[in-house]
């Protein structure tokens, strides 16, 4: 059960549409009049299969892809359509974390170089750069921070590198993080650590998340609200617990039932042992 959050919206997507055209192919509609908002300290999970348009929506929110129609608002101010220079200014409020942490960093830069590039844009910095970087690293659980400053990305494990992605996203103290499948590269035993880190940040720094995932059990446990995307449209949305426990739309049902989760495996195991017990009793 995740507590509900009521606050003012940080990020709003209003009737956003985007289609891609390729010569010789029918146009692909990646987003069809999508409405979505994320409030302060709130986590909204966007679930759906690959090709459903989740990542395009994330890119539209970040200003990396221009929508064909509709608006993106940050704190109520329209940012879609701003010229690049101004967009860059406002975009510091909104930071991405991507799936593949090994592709997210320049392999020839050290942790210090990678983080300071972002930290230098912090709106109201305190202390020296080195001190700030150490605080950032320790905040994401890379302790002691000094040990990591001189390292290159390849000298970190996958889990450590994904923490570094989060540290870089935090360097500008953003009110919202847009995370596109941030856990799918991480091992199960590391996944919990990353999620707990994100929950800590949500509680302590009131960070909001637009969290894109295909993992139903994580969406259910981590998000306040969920939006289910299918072929460019949001087909079902609401409280994460309710939607995923009792899906209404056909597609959501398929998504929830199709997941080979551990819970389902356990149910199957129980069924088998019941059968075995009754079989023993019968013979």
């Amino acid at each position: 059960m995740v507590e509900t959050v009521i606050g003012k919206p940080v990020l709003e997507l209003c009737k956003v549409s985007k289609s891609f055209h390729r010569r010789g192919f029918p146009p692909v509609t990646a987003a069809r009049e999508v409405d979505l908002h994320v409030c302060e300290a709130e986590t909204v999970a966007l679930v759906g299969e690959s090709g459903s348009g989740k990542s395009t929506l994330a890119k539209i929110a970040l200003g990396l892809v221009r929508p064909d129609a509709g608006e993106v608002k940050l704190f109520g101010k329209t940012i879609s359509g701003l010229p690049m220079g101004q967009l860059r200014e406002v975009r510091t409020a909104m930071q991405p974390v991507f799936q593949d942490s090994s592709a997210a960093f320049n392999p020839r830069r050290t942790v210090t170089q990678l983080l300071s590039q972002a930290a230098i844009r912090h709106p109201s910095p305190i202390g020296t750069m080195r001190e700030r970087l150490i605080i950032l690293l320790e905040q994401v659980g890379l302790r002691p921070g000094e040990d990591y400053l001189g390292r290159f990305p390849h000298e970190l494990s996958g889990g450590q590198r994904q923490r570094l992605s989060i540290a870089r996203a935090l360097a500008m103290d953003p009110p919202i993080i847009i995370a596109d499948e941030p856990l799918s590269g991480a091992d199960v035993s590391i996944r919990g650590q990353l999620l707990n880190l994100m929950i800590d940040l949500r509680e302590k720094r009131k960070v909001a998340y637009l969290f894109i995932t295909h993992d139903i059990s994580i969406a259910k446990a981590f998000a306040h609200r969920v939006a289910v995307m299918y072929k460019g449209s949001i087909v079902e949305r609401g409280n994460a617990d309710e939607v995923l426990a009792n899906p209404q739309h056909e597609y959501t049902k398929r998504l929830v039932e199709g997941s080979l989760t551990v819970e389902q495996a356990e149910k199957a195991v129980e069924a088998i042992s019941h059968k075995m017990e009754s079989g023993v009793a019968a013979s």
């Binding site: 995740v2 299969e49 690959s50 494990s157 996958g158 889990g159 450590q160 091992d187 199960v188 035993s189 590391i190 996944r191 919990g192 650590q193 999620l195 707990n196 929950i199 295909h214 993992d215 139903i216 059990s217 994580i218 259910k220 446990a221 981590f222 398929r254 998504l255 199709g258 997941s259 080979l260 989760t261 551990v262 819970e263 389902q264 495996a265 356990e266 199957a268 195991v269 129980e270 088998i272 042992s273």
Partner: protein, 338 residues
């Protein structure tokens, strides 16, 4: 430990205390550091482990696909279909690969030839490994139907198919060899949730229909449980616990298996935090002499630092390598007898 697994009592695959290392720069990366595993004829067995646990190395070893110059089998034994294949030459491996053992990989796009039609690629495997077949075209159509692809898919190039269809095409190629054992290395990891369950269902059906054994390798306990009768849990190059799927789920014994199950369920505690296993997956190039899980283990004892425990038999073909479990089993000797 004598272990018979198959319904017929015969094993299609036996791995005995296998140790092997990759030579990377000057270092030896011990990707397998004591792996013992059995797959009976017609049996479905899963290997579960995280990245770096050595599970894909096992897949490569069983297919003879280890890099020749940069890997070395240090000790142990590998027996496939009654034949000792531990020290085969690359040439000799050709009589093993395809039949009796075939493989499907995680990423069909890098496995399939992008400039050859699917039908031709399946036909190649039939011509090579199933020379009794007179009408190759008919056999290709039969294989496509078997993996539930339309026969017209034979004319398609890999890029024209969806991810799920490509995975089916790769299965058709593997089945064209008429393998007795199919190794599937993360076959559904790159697929969507709904496609994933379809492909797993197909694998289950095929195994029953063809009476073939399956060695399914995955990081995902849910996927493995959906298709396998028995599970081996690997950690840092070692098999640390194995047993029937139901037993592993209802009565996990190794602290790592327990943690993995709790973590996979994504449940939150009263403080709203997720279950985790503290620490990180170990670096395989600098391994301690003892149990590799010792640094992360909630029940570690001093002896765990010194050496790796031998398997403790918990009965009903359930075994675990853990000193804490061993000590508990000795206190209650009745539970250890089987």
């Amino acid at each position: 430990m004598a272990e018979t697994t198959a319904k017929s009592g015969r094993n299609i695959l036996e791995i005995d205390d296998l140790k092997l290392a990759y030579l990377v720069g000057g270092a030896r990366v011990k990707a397998a550091n004591g792996v013992t595993l059995r797959v009976g004829e017609g049996e479905a067995v899963g290997i579960v482990g995280e990245s770096g646990s050595g599970k894909s190395t096992i897949a490569r070893t069983v297919l003879g696909l280890l890099p020749e110059k940069t890997s070395e089998i240090e000790s142990g034994k590998l027996i496939i279909d009654g034949r000792d294949v531990t020290r085969l030459s690359p040439k000799e491996w050709e009589s093993v690969r395809g039949n009796p053992v075939a493989i499907v990989f995680q990423d069909p796009l890098s496995f399939l030839n992008p400039v050859m039609r699917i039908g031709r690629q399946i036909a190649e495997s039939v011509e090579h490994h199933d020379q009794g077949v007179k009408d190759v075209k008919a056999r290709v159509a039969e294989l496509l139907t078997l993996v539930k692809l339309p026969v017209t898919a034979a004319r398609a190039y890999p890029h024209e198919l969806s991810g799920g269809m490509r995975q089916r095409a790769m299965m058709a190629i593997a089945l064209g060899c008429r393998p007795k054992l199919l190794v599937a290395d993360e076959p559904t990891t790159a697929l969507d949730v709904t496609t994933q369950s379809e492909v797993m269902e197909l694998l289950r059906d095929l195994r029953k229909k063809l009476g073939m054994a399956l060695l399914l390798i995955s990081h995902d306990l849910g996927v493995v449980a959906s298709a396998c009768e028995r599970i081996y849990v690997m950690y840092a190059g070692r098999t640390v616990e194995w047993g029937p799927t139901a037993t592993i789920f209802s009565n996990p014994s190794h602290p790592y298996t327990k943690g993995l199950l709790r973590a996979a369920k994504a449940t939150r505690d009263e403080r709203g935090r997720f279950e985790t296993i503290p620490g990180d997956v170990p670096n395989l190039s600098k391994q301690p002499p003892g149990c590799p899980f010792e640094m992360r283990c909630p029940v570690a004892m001093p002896v765990c630092k010194e050496s790796m425990p031998a398997p403790t038999d918990l009965g009903s073909r359930h075994a675990v390598r853990c000193y804490a479990v061993e000590a508990a089993a000795q206190r209650v000797p009745a539970s250890a007898a089987s």
